[in-house]
Symmetry: C2
Subunit: 470 residues, 2 copies
């Protein structure tokens, strides 16, 4: 299914018109193919005769017709992105020219690359492991500083180097255990069970902490979900609009054309927050309103942060009620609760402190009260600072290793299950062939993460999300 | 106003997400600036120590944080697009990374380039003349094969080489004429008046044919305007939709994101046609309908081709009426008239030929009758072939030199006026100082075309239409 016998080509720069665009052609025949449509200045001789990693002014021609004047860069395998001979053509960025040169490359014998096929070849040629491949896609998709940093760290080797080292050690042990099976009648022990137990323990700990980082990693990738709860007349919408108005331009700028799909995401110093507006919460017998309230609870359930909007007329009880309800209904205590006391511009200066004291008196440790005026924008920054202190936002400023990929998470989970069985087997002195089988299974799943063990279906799933041209 | 003392930077590839993106940094300080944010692998040493026209794997860094792994290409002035030291950074195509690297370049001392500023520098450094500069913009904007070919020919020197040669000859003559003025009391003749007359004649002919090509050139650039005239129930809309449906995808594909601005343009084998739908034409006393009909005539006035849609129930007279009206009202006989006889699927086979004969009997030479069925798409190809035979479409397949730029057209017109005065002056033996003045004026306008004579306003107008990054 995945051949690297033929030569592939694609436009690698974003769609549309620009100053320049870049086409790539990679594969065993790429120099020959490029030579058919590219004329170097006469004194330079043939394209394939040029040194690797050099760039040349040239013309792209169709017969005697000059299609464009371009810069051509040559890479010789294995010292290229794909690991193969590669020609990059940097042309004028007219969609007409881009398309025309692509057609000429195809006519000259190249095949249109499928999504991510240059990266696929990099993988097949051993230039990247599978997590690095996935990191390339994540890197290109990353729209926030935090998501970018995680993808970058993963692309540069990240956690897989550690996994691979542990896997190699485990592999040695398994081989020894399996060797014992061959000599089963002689009751020898090649693999030190104490050391094996220590190793299983070490690996389990590493995988455990990686696996635990997944929730956080996913939150970072998607934006940290913040549910905004409160009566409409407390200024919930004004606050939402204020947050969005302040940041919408920035997010839109970063995200480019994908803005539509991330409605209501704000970015504070590179960390994305997904603002989830909710219907009001109160007791009601009305069926439709009940449905709305049930939806609100579902949304709160998805959120890491609950932002409760109150105003000076609200009762401090409302904080207690919401907190109790979150804990009682959902059994989740880890949600961060931020109380926004809005409309503070309406409070006379003298009454400010007593009012704040009244609300503060019901707060538990870790909860924050922020007096703001959504109408004037006063103290908005304080609210943003407060969002930045929540764990997801904070961790992304550290150099933690974080899993964001559901495929890795699943493989880690299965590897952990197998390791747990192996450890238990070891403790309970189960037969060696069962032990070996569990370890083999763990090895299999660990190998799947880095791509040492893979299949077409897995590759297909990974590459279907890639850009063409990468 | 136009300095080349500082170092400029920009994203040069199209906006948005892609496999890769390219940033450019050009100017005297570009190597130093790039060195602040780019780390080569250690064995390679410093960026500025690398050979020109080489490409290197490198990291873009912000402090100790790696922002991206990139390919960096070095060009040393004057052997670069801008004629200056230039660094090109090819990074992963995430909008976040593109923006980040741009910010880093600016922090390191580069300035964001204005639209077309790299090309401006190419002009200031004598790498391109002004028509070539304009051709670069046209090339990037060109969405059809014909427009592309004209821009390409202009970028490669096109007609300006000829103009420059003629201008140089004229300059020599003028100098001689002016030398005579210094010796006016001695009645010498340095400049052979016969040769001068021949030269003026030659230049006038060249400029005349260039100037005449402008109408055609503009048509090619904008798309050849085709007015579709006829009663709605003759199937005008069906035909329009058929033409658009057939070709919309192709045009949209070529044009990328600018599709919106070229509503109702079809492309047949690389030639664009602008389809202009019109209201029906008939006698009426209704004021609003009259207004509609006046607009229809205005649209017909803009068109090179009038496509009259009739059906089997139409009378051949309608052809005569339309033709007469076009000639009488507008005095323009050069419009191509194509008669489309629609709904031929409704005509029984036996009645087909007599019906066609009836309509053909009123046609004049050069007019075409095409029986089609817009409903079934039958004979659509015949109609497209017929559109391809009209002069604008035809000429673009030749290697004619064609003016498309209104600035060139104006300068040519003024140069021609001055040359005509000079020729008349020569014939009427007007004083040499008047002759010299006219020739100087012609030289001035010719110099304006190539940019040998220019000013900030002209440059400003040219570059305001450029992409950032080119």
């Amino acid at each position: 299914m995945y051949s690297k016998e033929d030569t592939i080509c694609a436009i690698s720069t974003p769609n549309g018109r620009g100053a320049i665009a870049v086409l790539r052609c990679s594969g065993p025949d790429s120099f020959n193919i490029a030579e058919k449509i590219i004329r170097l200045p006469e004194r330079k001789g043939k394209l394939s005769g040029q040194a690797a990693n050099t760039v040349h002014f040239a013309s792209v021609v169709e017969g005697i017709q000059v299609i464009d004047e371009v810069m051509v860069t040559l890479f010789k395998g294995p010292h290229s992105y794909s690991g193969e001979d590669t020609v990059e053509i940097s042309c004028h960025g007219s969609p007409y020219i881009q398309k025309k040169i692509l057609e000429l490359l195809v006519q000259a014998g190249a095949r249109m690359a499928t999504a991510g096929e240059f990266t696929l070849r990099a993988f097949l040629n051993g230039k990247l492991d599978l997590t690095q491949v996935e990191a390339v896609a994540d890197l290109i998709a990353s729209g926030s500083k935090a998501a970018h940093r995680i993808a970058m760290s993963q692309m540069r080797g990240g956690f897989t180097q550690e996994i691979r080292k542990l896997r190699d050690k485990l592999l040695t042990f398994t081989s020894l255990v399996e060797l014992e099976l061959d000599f089963s009648e002689e009751d020898v022990e090649f693999a030190d069970r104490g050391q094996l137990k220590t190793l299983l323990n070490e690996i389990t700990n590493v995988l455990d902490s990686l696996s635990n980082s997944f929730v956080l990693g996913n939150v970072i990738k998607q934006g940290i979900p913040v549910a905004i709860v409160g009566r409409t007349n407390a200024g919930k919408s004004t606050l939402l609009n204020l947050l969005l108005r302040e940041e919408k331009a920035i997010v839109s700028d970063i995200e480019g054309t994908t803005r539509d799909s991330i409605e209501d995401v704000i970015s504070i110093r590179g960390v994305h927050f997904r603002l989830i507006d909710t219907a009001g919460l109160r007791h009601t017998e009305d069926a439709i309103e009940k449905l709305g309230i049930r939806r609100t609870w579902e949304k709160i359930d998805q959120a890491s942060v609950v932002l409760q909007v109150l105003d000076p007329k609200s009762r401090p009880d409302e904080i207690i009620h919401l907190r109790d309800k979150i804990k009682a209904d959902q059994g989740i205590a880890e949600k961060q609760l931020i109380i926004v006391l809005n409309k503070m511009d309406l409070v006379p200066p003298g009454k400010m402190e007593p009012l704040l004291a009244k609300f503060r008196s019901v707060l538990l440790p870790g909860e924050t009260l922020i007096p703001i005026s959504a109408a004037s924008g006063n103290n908005l920054q304080l609210l943003e600072e407060s969002l930045m202190t929540i764990p997801g936002a904070y961790s992304t400023r550290e150099n933690d290793v974080i899993i964001t990929n559901v495929r890795h998470f699943e493989a880690l989970t299965r590897a952990l299950e197998a390791l747990t069985r192996a450890t238990n087997g070891l403790n309970n002195r189960l037969p060696d062939d069962l032990l070996s089988q569990d370890i083999r299974e763990a090895l299999h799943y660990l190998g799947e993460i880095t791509g040492e063990i893979t299949n077409d279906e897995v590759l297909g799933n990974i590459f279907k999300n890639f850009c063409i041209g990468k």
